[in-house]
Symmetry: D3
Subunit: 75 residues, 6 copies
């Protein structure tokens, strides 16, 4: 009875997208549920998946909000 | 000093409702805090409760987003 | 499809116990699943519950580990 | 490779503010990342921080939603 | 910068195993990190994965500890 | 009423230590509680902190368990 939580920043996977699409979310749910079936023999029905989209300003890395961190690394 | 997290899909408890109501949230907070007092002798003041409402498309079960899963099961 | 996480300190509910008992855990699982059925009409089968026992030295409140905090408050 | 989750109620730090500001979030990210460097020698780059703002009606303490609890305590 | 948490019951994937093996954990980490690269273009280096093994008596479903639930369903 | 969760790998902060010490945990609890007081005016008493130590083989980054990842990076 696995429970999977996927936290990602709320942004698009390509520059023309503003957020994760419903199709991408469905692909994450399908992929990770299949992975738990393949690796641990967990039936698909027994796996719950929750996707949490986190606002960019609420995500930090390197001691900075993620956008400031990326700008610094891109320099 | 218990900490309880309740994650539910963002939908109403009856067809005419679109989301969990404030009264329902208060009932969850009261009920689970009382449960921790009854079972583990935890004072009400010592229990924190956080309710997280998860968008339907962000919740997966059976390898599918929850709405697609329910449709499949209803067939 | 609710998911409930209950975090408690790893200690007994009475002085002669060292930890939460299996019967107490079962009572928490039963009680919170029933609460979600009563308040939000969630079927028992759709609710997952995870209990996390946290070592006393890993739990803080009031800027102190919980045992130090309780001693301070008891003075 | 630490992961820090900070959950706070969605409210301002002073009466004239409605929510946590971007500057306050940056200060939380900076401060907690520095703390993990100072105490555990974790490099800044290795620490992820996620801030979760929780609606007031979704946070409970003392068996009540937090606003009702504060009113009761203020009496 | 995704963060994935995988919670599973502490039990083996086959009857002769008592717990998830290190090789199975590595397969979960590899698979879910690859999934986030494939679906959302997240670089492997940017994804953190945490696996949490939960004691059987700490996991509930259907209002019962998971072992009691499975026995009931197997009848 | 903030809730802070700090997840770290279960290892020492220096080569001669096997795990995080009680003094280091107390320093994390004190530091992050003070941070929330300084930045958001949250009273010390209102902040809960939970430290979760995660086994090395249960933590992944770069598609690998963390020890394999560090060896690769050290080459």
């Amino acid at each position: 009875m696995p429970m999977v939580t996927i936290q990602v920043t709320r942004e698009g996977s390509t520059p023309d997208r503003k957020s994760v699409t419903a199709a991408e979310k469905a692909a994450l749910i399908k992929g990770v549920s299949q992975l738990l079936l393949d690796v641990l023999n967990k039936p698909l029905d027994a796996t719950f998946v929750v996707i949490e989209e986190v606002e960019m300003e609420n995500w930090g890395v390197g001691g900075l909000p993620v956008e400031a961190y990326r700008k610094l690394k891109a320099q």
